[in-house]
Symmetry: C2
Subunit: 231 residues, 2 copies
DNA sequence: CAAAATAGAGAGCACTGCTCTTGACGAATG
DNA sequence: CATTCGTCAAGAGCAGTGCTCTCTATTTTG
């Protein structure tokens, strides 16, 4: 039935255009984006938007999902195109990819990692895409350990924390020592902090050379983790 | 003229109550707080609020300023009540104080460190209060260096970044080596990341023992900086 | 071709920030 | 003491928001 599929195709294109316009509005208006404004931009009346999008929150959720996917793709691509044994190179590549994505998509980054909207609860489908960047980072440590390129730091974790991390390791990286996982999460936390500080203006009038500062800070975390320096 | 001052006092009390009600609303409604709702809670009509508060953004700015002051007070108090030579103890105390304040004031924390509202530009008076926590942290390093308790790490900063940090050091901590300042800022970035991840739900279903996890991560950064461990 | 599904338009409800006008009250002054 | 004057609160109103409902026109389907 090509008749039905032409309808469906037009409909899908409409939804895509709504998302594109919404993304554009996001850049200027932030999280408080207006369906009416999107409708105006498309030459529609506001109520017609609801034929394609169930609600404003659903539209935001769709944008969030696509943003997570975009960030995850960028991060994993950067990791994949670096030589596996070059742990430090991979670490830097992944961090830079995340930062580059954030700088080119500041509104989406704020949507993902800014303050959560009080009423809004993240749907179940966002939790897995959200884990791709940290999983990529820790994956570098797993590979390094498997290839004998990493020394496992002493495990001085208090017992309950050790148990939490052991459970987390079992779920994603079976056999990964908790002390290493803890350092990987420290690196992920730092990466988020670095990007957020830069994007949210905390470095204004302070750090002019953002690229070099970022690389240096990322390198500090690589030191903390124990990623071997190239000769 | 006591007549005029009784007017002024009642007026000040009104403004204080408006702020208090607004703070309460903040906890449930987040940054999109409604002046009309505040007015309703006070038994006023919405337009009457504008006798005391110029606009919604001004009210938010006032709350932000008070929040920065509260956090700064908590952080500096924790630092001041720890023995000066116990660098690691001070580091942990300051970080814990910041986290405790954030946990007891989650909405205010989100206001300070969440995604910035697109239209809203932070007024000039917020920049100094905002620097109190990082200055307190780096102050620990300055003291440790002055007392000969810290070894200065090798300075492998690229020249432009070194210049940025040198200028920053000159402004607040004359003579502080840039390599140390960079590590201090790494610690501050990590502290922000740790608190944000915990408050914004990124640790849900992952880390159950938040206190121990936080302390361990803070300790990792103390290691990176080179704060001496107690015997 | 008739019936059913769909798209768009318009009106309307409850809410928001904010402005302007009007009436009332208290305080300072002639 | 009586009269201005400044302040306060209230109400109406404007432009905007998310969202729902109804009505009409068009398109797809049986």
């Amino acid at each position: 039935m090509p008749a039905s599929s032409i309808r469906a195709r037009v409909r899908a294109e409409m939804i895509d255009e709504i998302k594109a316009v919404a993304r554009r509005h996001l850049a200027t208006d932030g999280a408080n984006l207006s369906l009416r404004a999107v409708a105006r931009d498309m030459g529609m009346v506001s109520s017609a938007i609801y034929r394609y999008v169930p609600s404003r929150d659903d539209l935001l959720t769709a944008l969030i999902l696509e943003a997570y996917d975009g960030l995850g793709d960028a991060v994993e691509a950067a990791d994949g195109s670096t030589e596996r044994h070059d742990l430090r190179g991979r670490w830097h590549a992944v961090c830079r990819a995340a930062r580059d994505w954030a700088i080119t998509h500041p509104a989406e980054y704020a949507l993902l990692y800014g303050s959560p909207v009080p009423g809004y609860a993240a749907p179940e489908d966002t939790v897995l895409p959200a884990q791709r960047p940290p999983l990529t980072l820790v994956g570098i440590l797993r590979d390094g350990l498997a290839d004998g390129l990493l020394t496992v730091p002493a495990d001085d974790l208090p017992e309950p924390v050790h148990a939490d991390l052991a459970e987390l390791a079992d779920a994603f990286f079976p056999g990964l020592p908790t002390a290493l996982l803890a350092r990987g999460m420290a690196g992920w936390t730092q990466l988020f902090g670095l990007i957020s500080f830069e994007l949210f203006g905390r470095l204004n009038q302070t750090i002019a050379h953002r690229d070099g500062y970022f690389d240096h800070q990322v390198g500090l975390m690589a030191d903390l983790i124990g990623l071997p320096r190239p000769e």
